[in-house]
Amino acid sequence: MKTDWDEVLQLLLNATGETLYMVLLAGLFTLLIGLPLGVLLFISRAGGLFPLPRLNRALGAVINLGRSLPFVVMLIALIPLTRLIVGTTLGSTAAVVPITIGAFPFFARIVETALDDVDKGRIEAIVAMGGDIRHVIFKVLLPEALPALVAGVTLTLVMLIGFSSMAGVIGGGGLGDLAIRYGYQRFNNQIMVVTVVVLVVLVQGVQSLGDRCVRSLAHRR
């Protein structure tokens, strides 16, 4: 079988565009939901800065539920919710809903862990000088945990690339969909190989960019 490389290139460009669209949009929503949720998880712990043990347990249970479902199951199970939010259940935009819902519980746990690693003495110093909970969050927790948070965002983005490759199940397109439809179902090994190469380059790029940010942040500390 002869491969039309112009067509392959076009397919790849479209698929890469779809993947980036899904990953960046879902990444933005994951950050917007996961970061405040992670802060809330941390401060609401029993014996924490703003103890709300009941809320904390309820949130923890919901988050664990979200994390225990295999993503491909969630993709299907969330179809009614997707229809409610974006009005359609097909396409890249529709895929952003389940990808975000699959990722934000994970990111919230990463945030919680990063904040837990901030030296308790630094928190205490701010409390001792008369700081309130906002001062603790914005002057200590988030700035001191920033390198760990950026590392967590990197980890989450790589995971989002993985999630987005399953979006083909609901017609979301993207690189994973290309690899399955052309590479697997049509036995087109060339497409399979170039798709894999693009995915690897994408993940490596995200990871090394993230690592560089973490290093420059940690540099002077």
């Binding site: 030296d119 205490e124 000088m129 008369g130 309130d132 001191e144 920033l146 002077r220």
Partner: protein, 248 residues
């Protein structure tokens, strides 16, 4: 003046009390030492003075106001009048030296221009004007504690609590930090309450001291009273060292 009245602190039912009916008075303008072995309750007592620990019973009167009755905003405002320095320094590593010193001023809502001027003044006071742009990780232990002291003094507190502030430092640096604390006490009139397990620290700068054991006050008094009392173990331990004759 700080008056501690019958303060007890129990962490959990059935456990021995961390503080057991402690009463003492700390005069304005003095340097007051709290000594005792580890586990004696020193740290708990110090942390009760700014309500980082809430006493189970008893009162803490600061200039006549009972701190244990305060909550929320009133408590936070009172805490702005009480500086604190720590064994582990507890500086923010995401901020440079000047911005660390500015934190209490930001919390107190001091305008930016005023903050900058005040920070420069404080850094000059602790001898670190040339390190304003440095980050904590670039400083020695003694320099970090100087930043801690500048930060604790930023909001012009009446009281300064020192939680083993020199325990992580070598003897020479300890001496320079103690000298700085004494200067601050003399020049600014800040009342200093310090806890330490090193009696040399008490001997070097304290006016009065209390010793704790198992959460109870064993002895207390001014340094002169303690030293003059032959039955005082703390007094004997704090006796001026007559064998050492310094030349020059």
């Amino acid at each position: 003046m700080i008056v501690v009245e019958g303060v007890s602190k129990t962490y959990a039912d059935g456990q021995p009390a961390a503080l057991d009916n402690v009463s003492l008075q700390i005069a304005d303008g003095s340097i007051f030492g709290i000594v005792g072995r580890s586990g004696a309750g020193k740290s708990t007592l110090l942390r009760c003075l700014n309500l980082l620990e809430r006493p189970t019973s008893g009162r803490i009167l600061m200039d006549g106001q009972d701190l244990t009755r305060l909550t929320g905003k009133a408590l936070r405002q009172q805490r702005q009048r009480i500086g604190m320095i720590f064994q582990g320094f507890n500086l923010l590593h995401s901020r440079n030296v000047a911005d660390n010193v500015a934190v209490p001023l930001e919390i107190a809502g001091v305008p930016k221009a005023e903050r900058v001027a005040r920070v420069a003044q404080l850094l000059a006071l602790v001898g670190l004007s040339d390190k304003a742009a440095a980050f904590p990780s670039q400083l020695s232990g003694g320099q970090k504690q100087r930043v801690g002291i500048a930060r604790a003094l930023a909001a012009r507190p009446a009281y300064l609590l020192s939680d083993e502030a020199t325990s992580a430092l070598d003897p020479e640096t300890t001496a320079s930090i103690l000298a700085l604390l004494r200067d601050i006490n003399r020049q600014l009139g800040v009342t200093i309450v310090l806890i330490t397990h090193e009696l040399d620290v008490v001997k070097a700068i304290c006016d009065s001291a209390v010793s704790l054991a198992a959460g109870r006050v064993v002895e207390s008094g001014t340094l002169l009273q303690l030293q003059a009392d032959p039955s005082s173990r703390l007094g004997r331990a704090l006796a001026p060292n007559l064998q050492v004759v310094r030349a020059g």
